[in-house]
Symmetry: C2
Subunit: 227 residues, 2 copies
């Protein structure tokens, strides 16, 4: 309406760049922020790539998301975290999160596939030095693994914070890829006698195993039972 | 015994290199071939890292193991596969496989962790051009996902083989990392009222979903039911 203040709409998608435009299967790529956030929020283990002496290194590590920022933490001796602190203006990284949802079994070996959702983030990782941001980042990583856990644990003390390094990676250059649905067999293969379909994958949790030295009577917290 | 022929023992471990010696948590690293093979054989999705224009790229993809060789396949248009075919003597890659076994919930935020098993392979990826090796590699990838499936599907034809690129990565520079067991809390934290222990993770399969156009009466194969 004329004269009415319109808030600037929050962009719903990440910009497409040379690094995030796919070379193939373009129909599977998405830059939708809500989809990217949902995929990231369902996980807590990423694969972090960086370059050392010209060669790639890929390490599994925990992450936490706070709005449009991802945090990764580790020992101050960890190589990528140390490198991020020593690289100006930041360490080039690629952070990837993948969920496998099902196995796609086609009649032809060629058309076998998996159903999955993945997010790939490109950018520069910056060493987090501000104590408040660092503390919030560590909380985000713990709550990413078990939502609600931060409020039910002893916060990091100064010595522990000093022993921990944190990097931040902004969600600027991001793409999601997904495959869903059934088999794409060739028409001439449909009469073959092989079973064809999708085998869904299930993830879940077993029974919580309390520590032997846990105070007797300590109940399993609601946020664990809810997982 | 003197005079008795002794076969050369198969080396039980990968050599330690500058790239596979850990910077920290050294007690978690292993170079044992049997452990590495077991971790690789339990999975079928890896995260493949390579360098493009000086920056790292990490993509999830399927793999198959044949002895001391890993194969990755994809479209001939796939960037890392295309790059491997154009790079002499091969494309530097890092291939990582990770299994998450449990969430480790300590009384202190700092000592939270996960139980996991991972394998990191460094090396050069070579474009596979020999038709027989290529076909065997594709079989290995399919059987890695569902053992026994290759024998129950239509083999790739010439056109499909031509549309598929395969790279090989030899298992030379390899390390495994694992964390198992319970919580490592500080002695002074043991009396805190927080629940502490391990939440095991479970992976499994749902009910197979047959394609709508599957011939009526096609049974679910034994190798699927056995998963």
């Amino acid at each position: 309406m004329q004269g009415t203040h319109q808030p600037t709409p929050r962009p719903a998608a990440y910009p497409v760049t040379d690094r995030t435009v796919p070379t193939r299967a373009a129909q599977k790529a998405s830059y939708d922020k809500d989809l990217v956030h949902a995929i990231l929020d369902e996980g807590y283990v990423c694969h972090l790539g960086f370059v050392r002496d010209g060669a790639p290194v890929v390490l599994p590590t925990l992450y936490g998301r706070v709005g449009e920022v991802l945090y990764v933490h580790g020992s101050t001796g960890s190589r990528p975290l140390r490198m991020a602190g020593q690289t100006d203006p930041g360490l080039p990284v690629c952070l990837t999160v993948t969920h496998v949802d099902g196995l796609v079994l086609a009649r032809s070996a060629f058309h076998h596939s998996i159903n999955y959702r993945s997010v790939v983030v490109h950018g520069l990782a910056y060493d987090v030095t501000d104590p408040e941001e660092k503390r919030a980042a560590l909380d985000a990583v713990v709550d990413q693994v078990v939502p609600g856990r931060v409020a039910d644990s002893r916060p990091a003390n100064k010595k522990e914070l000093a022993a921990t390094a944190v990097i931040r990676l902004d969600l600027n250059e991001v793409s999601a890829k997904t495959r869903t649905g059934g088999v794409n067999d060739e028409p001439e293969d449909l009469a073959l006698p092989h079973w064809a379909g999708v085998l869904p994958l299930r993830k879940g949790y077993g029974t919580p195993l309390p520590e032997a030295d846990l105070a007797p009577g300590t109940p399993v917290p609601d946020y664990l039972a809810a997982l």
